[in-house]
Amino acid sequence: MTSSMLFNITTFTYLISTIVFFAFLASKNKSVGLAGSLIAYSGLAIQTVAVALRWKESYDMGVGHAPMSNLYESIVFFSWTIVLLFAYIDIRYKYRVIGAFVMPFALLGMSWAQLGMNTGIEPLVPALQSNWLLYHVITCFLGYAAFAVACGISIMYLIKTVAEGTDSSASAGGLMSMFPPLKVLDDLNYRSIMIGFPLLTLGIITGAAWANYAWGTYWSWDPKETWSLIVWFVYAAFLHARITKGWVGKRAAWLSVIGFAATIFCYLGVNLFLSGLHSYGGGAR
């Protein structure tokens, strides 16, 4: 069994889980929801084994390094953290529907990685040969995953406000009754960001520490650095919006969605559209 086969199985498992969660939304059948969660967890377990196996395979090839060194590996790790965080929220807060809004992110990541990218294990270029890589990538991606979950929850919040605003109690008792109450969604959004924000902060700090160690400048306004700061500003705005009158609820939900859009741009857009020091897997700097 190779890691790449296991990653394919993982992708397929996330696809099934997403479909089952959508069926759960439509049917409101509790056991369908449970099935969705269990499938997601087994996917998580398979992916964990796959990541460990890929790590070992890199050592077998003589280029041993943690599997977080290029765009492909980072996306796989990103999907893994999203599902991990969903599992935490599912078990801790018992709001299973969130799966229908969070698992698609994990599925999207895995499918793109498996179908659209070079999956080969590459040796580390000199710039990436540092333990800081591990600390930096892990903190950043845990943060990103928390923001992904917050974004999913905010989308639910916005859908629910629209639904409650337009049609009255009759159909609001339908699909919308599956969604946690607005107050709970708002609170879960805040909690996810309370996990994500410290991690992003640590991610930026470890990145700065690494940059300082590797080339003597902790901050050089390179596009990736700047975008991570932009993301940080948006979530700082979110945190302050909550304690300002008139900014809770809908506006906070929008800020969370915008924050995640900025996160995705920071992660992918910068590599695709802008140039800088960070071009993942782009060889030596």
Binding site: P123, V125, P126, A208, Y213, A214, W221, P223, I243, W247
Partner: protein, 448 residues
């Protein structure tokens, strides 16, 4: 007149204390920062200048868009940001201190209704005895209360981790500490670049604006090596450096290996491996040549366009030098019999045993050239960096206090006929609710 002046000052003060300004600033910083990630910063590449219209170029330059993070308006935003931060803290900190040091010990009737966490039980005994019993209970289950007698009632107030309300201010302070560190770095630090050819030394480097900056000592580059993976991608760039004071190597700073991610620091100045290149074209190529029959080996030097005679009387010259990925450096040699046509073959530097397979009576091993490499080093000194790390540490600690700790308070009011308990937490009310329910169950059970 005096009153309008007062109100003007109050208005300015309120403006700087407002959280709406904070939101405006955070969003403005986020939006304006985008400019510098889209437009080139610093020295403009000529291709960019050629493609942009001159009016645009002029406007952008005027607005400082090509060095926007140092432009007057971006710095001004950061100043207002700091002012906002300081004003907010000045306004709120005294309240917070007061809140911590002078907590509400007595709950008025009106306040009591506002609690979501409350528990009540009837009690007909003497209130003195009830007070003593509940004091004991709170000490055991929560924390030591302060007891106040008021209007014939006893109010017991107990709290935990009140100081965590200061966490937010630690975060805010940390931002200012980081700014201070950055300012120290920009005033007292410098950055530059040095190139050292193998075997030579430097005593100065080139600063940002091109002028030579003295180091105060010498740095000698003994050697520069590039190591590659089997697939040809680079594995390691390594400079071997020696620090010289008065021409003598400094103990502990001799033959230091500097690679990417492993700099060398001497007297506060740090040298980072950054680039490399060839200082001159090779003119001489060195080989060891083994006679297959006898095993005798000789060192020879070949030069392009020059014929060098070999141990067996033939002549050889270099016709080409290649450096392909996966193959590494290789020389194409032409060997000819006296007056005959040359025979060409390739000798790879990374595979010294390969020429054996050619089957010729002479076996060539490519040992190197006389070309010198130079190493490119980033040179930096930043005395403010420790202040920045202090600020970062404060920030992480502050965020953890602000998010993951909670100020928990319990009031117990003992009066004729009942005992009532109220609870409140500054963060994570749900978790405190469980603790409160647990305590109130025990509260119901105690015999007073």
């Amino acid at each position: 007149m005096a009153t309008t002046e007062r109100s003007f000052i109050t208005n300015v003060w309120d403006f700087f204390c407002s959280l709406k300004l904070t939101l405006f600033l955070l969003i403005s910083l986020a939006l304006t920062s985008i400019i510098g990630t889209v437009l080139p910063q610093g020295a403009l590449p000529p291709e960019y200048v050629a493609q942009i219209s001159s009016t645009k170029l002029q406007i952008y330059t005027k607005l400082g868009f090509f060095d926007m993070y140092h432009s007057w308006w971006f710095i001004a935003l950061l100043y207002v940001f700091s002012l906002n931060l300081v004003s907010c803290s000045i306004k709120r900190l005294p309240h917070v201190f007061k809140f911590i040091s002078e907590p509400t010990l007595v709950l008025g009737e009106g306040q009591r209704n506002s609690f979501s966490l409350k528990q009540e039980m009837s009690y007909s005994g003497p209130i003195e005895k009830g007070k003593e019993r509940l004091l004991e209970f709170l000490v055991k289950e929560f924390s030591t209360p302060v007891i106040t007698e008021h209007n014939g009632e006893y109010h017991l107030f107990a709290q935990k981790t009140a100081w965590c309300r200061l966490g937010v201010y630690v975060v805010h302070l940390s931002i200012l500490v980081i700014f201070v560190g950055a300012i120290i770095g920009s005033l007292a630090g410098y950055k530059g670049y040095a190139t050292i050819v193998e075997g030579t030394s430097i005593n100065a480097f080139e600063g940002r604006d091109g002028q030579q900056m003295p180091l105060g000592y010498e740095v000698l580059c003994e050697k520069f090596n590039v190591e590659k993976y089997a697939n040809g991608s680079p594995k390691e760039f390594r400079s071997t450096l020696t620090v010289l004071e008065n021409g003598k190597p400094v103990p502990g700073y001799s033959q230091v290996k500097v690679i990417v991610n492993k700099p060398m620091t001497y007297k506060g100045i740090t040298f980072y491996q950054s680039s490399y290149g060839q200082a001159n074209d090779p003119s001489t190529f060195f080989f060891s040549v083994k006679q297959r029959a006898t095993g005798k080996t000789e060192q020879i030097a070949l030069r392009p366009k020059n014929l060098t005679s070999l141990p067996d009387g033939r002549t050889a010259t270099i016709v080409d030098l290649t450096d392909n990925p996966g193959e590494g450096m290789a020389a194409v040699i032409g060997v000819s019999e006296k007056g005959g046509e040359p025979k060409y073959f390739k000798v790879l530097k990374n595979y010294p045993t390969m020429d054996d397979m050619r089957g010729d009576s002479l076996v060539f091993i490519f040992t190197g050239t006389d070309a010198k490499q130079y190493t490119g080093l980033q040179v930096a000194k930043d005395p403010g960096v420790w202040v920045v790390w202090l600020g970062c540490t404060l920030m992480v600690v502050g965020i953890c206090i602000a998010f993951f700790m909670s100020h928990k308070r319990i009031w117990v009011v003992v009066s004729k006929g009942h005992v009532r308990m109220y609870g409140n937490a500054s963060k994570n009310q749900a978790a405190f609710q469980m603790q409160f329910e647990d305590i109130s169950e025990k509260f119901q059970e105690i015999k007073i």
